[in-house]
């Protein structure tokens, strides 16, 4: 290993000589500075290489030819090497971003940059308490210089506040050092940690002062106003250094002194870190200024890492390896994402000051810039495959193992808030995109791009390190990347490629698909392939659609084949990610996508805790009973995903605002993933849940309420996609209800209903996509009479609504029959009655669908529209055929379903020939089909024979008889179609769910608003916070 002292010598010599070299020209001096930083990076790489598992162990270096305790020691171990690499990498990236300003400013800027980075490296390497102080001062003073080097007023204002906090921290640190020397007798950290003097009453206080100083430098809430102001105002390159490199160095310093901290002090570190994480995220949610928001997020993340490091020791969560993996993973994630985002914020333009924040001076990003912003934002919030995701999983699992439920609640709650505001910001960026404007990448995008690439690379590496090596689980990302590469290709080619990808996946996964999985694979993979095909119905490359659609489809497939909790959760979050981006792609998808992803993540967090809480290595295959309550969390998480009443508020927006074909995919395919997991999870617990009767009854009522209210909301919609969205919610409600019955009949019903829903909802969405394409509106009152111009779509919708409404002869009847049979069999009579009522309500919106769109008089402007494109009609034709076949021969669908369920429960239902027999009755699909066809044919012929001379009536002749209406469309018969019913049922359809969540959001928001009153902008108040914080810490450590 190269002696790091040479690197210090090198940096210092370079810095000292910079003013002279500068006489040769700024290029020479900056080149020298950058080369020196790069040398650090190269050395760090060589250390990492040497330390690579199996290589030499940690190595120490003494100064001046002596060893400790006489001389200052430096140490190079794994964390030091990684930290050095981080510092120099961030330093180089930031230097690249600051290059222009550095070239213009006095040479002091470059000197300060070089010294700041060297100071941070020194903090990382040194093992001496006082030497640590010297390096902290070097890096702080160099930072003060850097803040001021480009002479911005706002930065100077913030810099002075920073200096005040820094000055107090230095004083604290010095006091700590000298008393550590007094009581511990040593300045070397490793020797001091072994000296008993430091563990006495006085020695503990000495250690406390050291700790307090480091904590302040780590910007704890509420003593961090100065830091936020700095993040907001200085050159974004410097923000990146502070938030990435400096935080890394200081966290390693904290890690270094942890051996001399007692339990009380460690608890204080953990508490302070978590409080910072929670509070800063709450305040961050209030920010409109991007850089200030990133500042809060930075502070929050650093708090979390500090807390995790302390908790690792305090709760014995794991060894050093665990700390590297989790704290290191979180830090790495923060470092790369935040560096990239800060550097990217430059491309977004100068955000206005607080007062002018309303005037958005931000520019739209190019598609490439947007993609990079997306990777960084998504990585920051801990979605897969980025390092934060893996670290968070390991952390939650360890905390669950230590039964620290409150910590989990705080961490995940605050993570959710962070995800909310970071993705809101990203949504806004994505929303600013020009309509298919192919602007070239921005200048200075290389840095963020590198960060994004590194983030992905490290993410994949950590996933592999955690043992998630199954290629099928990574397939979604492979497909995403591959299709993004050919994103400029014509749509049809990408459609075919997507289908090929799904087919290949299916082939590879086939051996692992047992009955249940095969059953769902038809809906999930088959559905995905079908929608990839349907995506051809719009011309143009439809950039981004195909990669995301196939990623989402393959993620659904991955959910099916995952065989470990982590692998499963990985696939699940991949699905959340891909579908979020799909929704965001929609024209007005920004708000809807935000709701979708926040609820999706919330549900996923419940799921994660449930999975993590299951003791032992639980394979995701049916195993029988295990101890119970995690299943409740899993069910809760799945209910969110299924859009159960109360947590459904994301659903209408997401289904309605995404692209028309994507809506179909989400509603008919993706929603089934939740059903699948619910079944697998329940099966894994042997169908046993805590408080069995009560829980199942409650679940049943949740499903029932979802079904009822979904239908009720659906009937008042003017927007056809909203109608379908609410209808989906209602139909899934029946599935939940059926699952809650929890016996063979119930589950058979659930699976049967799910498959049916897939069939008819696909037909509806595909048909409606065609209609919307042709008529150019989603409002039903602007349509009418399309039966003549789009007969095929009419037929498709007709069949779908027959199937949906549950009248014979189509398979929907079977579903309803099964449902009522199972409910009555179970003894849930009231439930059966309500379910019946809900079905009646569903008739209303179904009737409206067919009536206002296809029947009545055509609008003059729509009298010449063509039938839907083939890309839509072919899948519909196929689905119709399947539906008919399944209706005529129910065994086609029911045999596999009953086979699956038969493993878990004793049989209640059975087949006798083509007749399905339950204890309460029987159903013969073939017979009812024959009967219906015969009756229908008779009626039809009677009608043909008796109807002559139909008289067409002008549609608007009554309206124009009087006066010209102010809003002519309100006079259309389809406008506010079910207004009369509103009087009767309106009280049920107040949006209580939305209002609750709105109030909840407002509550969270106002908590953030109240907290941020702390940040008055007055540097002196900030200094006061610092002192009060220290005092509070002191009292706490004394009390603990």
């Amino acid at each position: 290993m190269v002696n790091p002292l040479y690197l210090f010598a090198c940096s210092l010599a370079a810095a000292f000589l910079l003013p002279l070299v500068d006489k040769l020209g700024r290029k020479a001096s900056l080149g020298l500075a950058y080369a020196t930083v790069a040398a650090w990076g190269a050395a760090a790489l060589s250390y990492l290489w040497a330390l690579f598992p199996g290589g030499s162990p940690t190595e120490s270096f003494g100064t001046a030819g002596f060893a400790a305790p006489l001389a200052i020691m430096l140490r190079v171990g794994p964390e030091e090497a990684a930290g050095l690499l981080a510092v120099s990498a961030v330093g180089l990236l930031s230097a690249g971003a600051m290059h222009r300003s550095l070239a213009k400013a006095p040479i002091g800027g470059a000197i300060a940059l070089l010294m700041a980075l060297m100071g941070m490296s020194g903090i990382i390497l040194t093992r001496d308490l006082f030497n640590l102080f010297v390096f902290m001062e070097i890096s702080s003073i160099a930072t003060y210089g850097l803040i001021a080097y480009d002479d911005r007023r706002a930065a100077l204002r913030a810099g002075f506040k920073y200096m005040m906090a820094g000055g107090i921290a230095s004083a604290l640190y010095l006091i700590g050092v000298i008393y550590a020397y007094r009581f511990g007798g040593q300045l070397n950290i490793d020797l001091a940690a072994r000296s008993p003097g430091l563990y006495g009453a006085a020695g503990t206080v000495a250690a406390f002062f050291l700790l307090a100083a480091l904590l302040i430098e780590l910007k704890p809430f509420p003593a961090n106003g100065w830091a936020i102001d700095v993040y907001q105002t200085v050159d974004p390159g410097l923000s990146a250094i502070l938030s990435g490199a400096s935080a890394t160095a200081l966290l390693l310093a904290l890690w270094k002194i942890m051996p001399i901290l007692g339990d009380a002090q460690l608890s204080v570190v953990a508490g302070s870190g978590l409080a910072t994480f929670a509070a800063s995220n709450l305040v961050g949610a209030r920010q409109s200024n991007a850089r200030r928001m990133l500042g809060y997020s930075s502070v929050a993340q650093v708090g979390l890492v500090a807390a995790v490091a302390a908790l690792t020791r305090l709760l014995s969560l794991g060894d050093d390896r665990f700390a590297y993996m989790v704290a290191g993973g979180l830090l790495l994630n923060h470092l790369l994402a935040k560096t990239g985002l800060f550097l990217l914020s430059r491309a977004l333009g100068e955000p206005g000051s607080q007062a002018g924040a309303q005037r958005r001076r931000e520019r739209a990003l190019s598609p490439i810039g947007t993609a990079i912003a997306g990777v960084l934002a998504v990585g920051l919030v801990g979605l897969p495959p980025f390092p934060g995701f893996w670290a968070k999983w390991s952390l939650i699992r360890a905390l669950a193992g230590a039964r620290q439920w409150w910590l989990i609640v705080v961490i995940l709650g605050a993570s959710l808030v962070e995800a909310f505001y970071v993705l809101r910001w990203f949504g806004r960026i994505a929303d600013m995109r020009g309509e298919d404007g192919y602007a070239g990448p921005e200048a200075g995008i290389a840095g963020p791009a590198l960060c994004a690439a590194a983030l992905a690379g490290f993410g994949i590496a950590s996933g592999l390190a955690l043992g998630v090596g199954d290629p099928l689980l990574w397939a979604p990302f492979a497909a995403l990347a591959a299709l993004l590469l050919v994103d400029r290709a014509p749509g049809w080619l990408k459609s075919l490629l997507s289908i090929a990808a799904v087919a290949a996946f299916g082939r590879l996964a086939f051996d692992r698909l047992d009955g249940l999985r095969l059953f769902f694979a038809v809906m999930l993979l088959g559905g995905g392939a079908m929608y990839s095909f349907a995506a051809m119905y719009k011309r143009g490359p439809r950039r981004g659609l195909h990669p995301l659609l196939s990623a989402a489809t393959l993620a659904l497939g991955a959910i099916l084949v995952a065989d470990s909790p982590l692998g499963f959760f990985f696939a699940w979050e991949t699905m959340t990610l891909a579908s979020y981006l799909l929704v965001l792609r929609g024209k007005k998808g920004e708000r809807a996508a935000l709701g979708y992803v926040v609820f999706g993540l919330g549900g996923a967090f419940l799921l994660m805790v449930g999975l993590a809480a299951i003791p032992g290595a639980w394979s995701f295959r049916p195993t029988g009973g295990a101890d119970g309550w995690p299943i409740l969390l899993i069910i809760g998480g799945l209910l969110v995903k299924l859009g159960a009443l109360g947590v459904h508020v994301w659903l209408p927006g997401a289904y309605a605002e995404s692209d028309d074909d994507v809506s179909g995919f989400l509603s008919s395919s993706l929603s089934k993933a939740g059903v699948f997991v619910m079944i697998v999870a329940l099966a894994a617990f042997g169908g046993v849940v805590p408080f069995q009767a009560l829980t199942l009854r409650a679940l049943g009522w949740i499903g029932l309420a979802t079904a009822l209210f979904g239908a009720l909301y659906a009937i008042y919609q003017e927007d056809v996609k909203k109608t379908l969205a609410w209808s989906s919610m209602g139909q899934i409600g029946y599935v939940i209800l059926a699952l809650a019955i929890n016996d063979q009949a119930g589950w058979t019903t659930a699976l049967y209903l799910a498959l049916n829903h897939f069939l008819y909802k696909s037909m509806l969405f595909l048909a409606i996509a065609g209609v919307i394409k042709r008529v150019g509106t989603r409002n039903m009152y602007e349509m009418g009479g399309l039966i003549k111009t789009m007969p095929f779509s009419f037929l498709s919708v007709l069949m779908a609504i027959i199937a949906l409404s549950g009248v014979p002869p189509l398979s929907g009847f079977g579903g309803k029959w099964l449902l009522y049979s199972s409910l009555l069999q179970k003894g849930w009579y009231l439930e059966a009655a309500v379910a019946f009522f809900a079905s009646a309500v569903a008739f209303l919106y179904l009737f409206r669908l067919i009536h206002t769109i296809f029947l009545g008089q055509p609008k003059p402007s729509q009298s010449t529209v063509r039938e839907a494109p083939l890309a839509l009609t072919i899948p519909q034709g196929f689905l119709m055929a399947v539906l008919l076949a399944a209706s005529a021969f129910p065994r086609l669908m029911l045999d596999p379903v009953m086979g699956v369920v038969g493993d878990v429960f004793d049989p209640i239902l059975r087949f006798e020939g083509s007749t399905l027999v339950s204890p309460l009755g029987y159903w013969d699909g073939t017979l009812s089909m024959i009967v219906t066809i015969v009756v229908f044919a008779l009626c039809f012929f009677w009608m043909l024979a008796n109807l002559h001379n139909p008289q067409p009536v002008k549609q608007f002749n009554i309206v124009y008889a009087a006066e010209r209406p102010f809003k002519p469309w309100t006079t259309h018969y389809a406008w506010s179609f079910y207004a009369p019913y509103e009087k009767a049922l309106g009280f049920l359809t107040r949006r209580r769910g939305e209002r609750f969540w709105e109030a909840f959001g407002t509550g969270v928001d106002s908590v953030g608003g109240a907290i941020r009153r702390v940040y008055t902008g007055n540097g002196q108040t900030y200094a006061l916070h610092v002192v009060l914080y220290v005092v509070a810490l002191y009292l706490l450590t004394g009390a603990l």
Partner: protein
């Protein structure tokens, strides 16, 4: 009012944390083991009469190097902030010219003061004082010149060169220690000599000389930058 209460609370709280520590530490009767080791080994191994100097320049020389870097970067920062081109000359021609006496005295004294400074840093290993103190004395000479002739500018280029080269020399001597002795900043490159003579303690006098020149130049730079007359 609220604010005053909070400040009072903060101070009282801080006192509550700090004072017991200060009182409990008391006065030591004996130096600790580490201190004794320094006191015994420094003269023997490094030949330095001034143990503090031995620690500052050699054992903990890495700290001192960092300290020089701190001063250096602070000077650079002050310079970058206060001597930007667009600031322009601030007060040229407004200052009262210095008296004849002061100017004459300055001419006489400058050389003497610089020599005194050099004496201090070259004897740092023998007597109290060293590079930093010597550097301040040299800066005093510069200050005197500034007072005597407010409009004049020091030979800025020369100062820069002195600062850069003495800094580089410091690092170079340190590196010599790594190559010729046992480690970076090891003063035992040259013979440690007998305690009490000027040529003793290895390279400590050389290092202190480099530090003295560098600190002198840096402090002069700070004074000049604050004066704000540099074109």
């Amino acid at each position: 009012m609220m604010r005053k209460v909070m400040v009072t609370l903060a101070i009282i709280g801080f006192a509550f944390a700090l004072l017991p520590l200060a009182f409990r530490a008391g006065v030591q009767a004996e130096p600790g083991a580490l201190a004794t080791e320094y006191l015994e080994t420094a003269p023997r191994e490094l030949g330095a009469a001034n143990v503090v100097t031995a620690i500052v320049v050699s054992y903990r020389g890495f700290d001192t190097l960092g300290e020089v870097a701190v001063l250096f970067v602070a000077t650079a920062g002050v310079g970058a902030m206060l001597t930007r081109k667009r600031l322009g000359p601030a007060a040229v021609g407004r200052r009262k010219p210095a008296t004849e006496v002061l100017r004459t005295a300055t001419g006489l004294l400058t050389g003497l003061i610089v020599m005194f400074g050099a004496y201090i840093f070259m004897h740092g290993h023998l007597t109290p004082g060293g590079g930093f103190q010597g550097g301040v004395v040299i800066a005093t000479a510069v200050l005197l010149n500034v007072l005597a002739a407010p409009e004049s500018h020091l030979a800025h280029g020369v100062m820069t060169a002195v600062e850069a080269l003495s800094g580089a020399a410091y690092v170079a001597i340190g590196l010599l220690g790594a190559f010729l002795a046992w480690g970076f900043l090891d003063p035992r490159v040259m013979p440690t000599g007998s305690i009490g003579s000027l040529v003793s303690a290895g390279t400590i006098p050389l290092i202190y000389s480099a530090i003295g020149l560098k600190v002198g130049a840096e402090l002069s730079g700070i004074i000049e930058a604050l004066k704000g007359d540099r074109p």
